[in-house]
Amino acid sequence: MMLEYTEKIRKTAKKLLEDGKVDVFIGYKKGSVAMMNEPVLITNPDHVDLLYWDSNCGLNLCNYLTGRTDRVGIVANGCNSRNIVTHIVENQIKRDQLYIVGIPCKGMIDHRAVQRAVKQREILEINEEGDGFTVKGMGFEETFEKKNYLQGNCAVCTHRNPVEYDEMIAEPVEEQEGVEAYRDVEKIEEMEPGKKWGFFTRLIERCIRCYACRNACPLCYCPTCFVDESQPQWVGKSSDPTDTMTFHLLRAYHCAGRCTDCGACERVCPMGISMRQFTKKLNKDSLDLFSWEAGLTLDQRPPLDVYRPDDYNDFIK
């Protein structure tokens, strides 16, 4: 199936570039390391064979749209397409600049979970067949079912099909039903305050402030991020635990009501920190208190942007 997707993406990109419908095409090319793919920008229709799609395309290509003024062709699965919608609503790109090639997605593979499953032996090759995949390394070969090794956000995804597109390369896939997306958030809500603080302190203990999470996130497009300000300096730049907690807390808060849970932040963190625990709480509140999920429609403005008389008010004295 992935091979068919790849073929269709290449054909579509070639035609778009040849017909001059887009100036550039953004997609993925196969990585040089197993389970990794590299985002690529194609300008020449003869180079479309670089394009590739499989279940290791877990970054967010919408990140590369910010500030572009040319006409862009881009592949987008469910969550990525919702980020594109948010980008348009927030005036970061215009709809008519884009040709969105929609990709129905059954989820990306969590490469760290797979590494754990093979006890950290080095994986040299991965091959997908149907709903499973096989990994090979020195002296070992194991097959797994994809549904047991999905990225955290993919396992609870209810928007697998693109919400906005110019063409779909395949039939829509079935959306997941009855998913308990916020079970982990609820577990934390049940803890007492002392335990909660301990949980979150331990979560970000390893943070080295590389900002991969912020840079991979399509929502983080501020010309100067609050952590980089120096007059006034809101947050210190060292690895001090209070400063680090402040960074994660406020970054999550800046994504409130906008995050589509694409999982790119967790995927790119070199220290393997599960920072979706910050944004998931806000997504849950967004849903419970404002009945809002980001990026589903181009017509509505997000709740933090607009006043409605029936807005949630209980927390205000």
Partner: protein, 56 residues
């Protein structure tokens, strides 16, 4: 924001919100006194307070 602060373990009651217009001076005084009293009762804040940088 209140939800997120409480979620990470800051005691409920430290961060409070109120709508007060500039014409509601009496309400402002009442709310300010009440919040100050409640927060004082929680004791010194232990979390998200930076003293000297904890570095090598």
């Amino acid at each position: 924001m209140k939800g997120l602060f409480e979620h990470i373990g800051i005691e409920p009651g430290r961060l409070q919100f109120s709508w007060i217009s500039s014409a509601e001076a009496t309400k402002f005084v009442e709310v300010a006194r009440a919040v100050a009293k409640e927060v004082k009762a929680l004791g010194p804040a232990g979390h998200l307070i930076k003293r000297r940088a904890e570095v090598a």
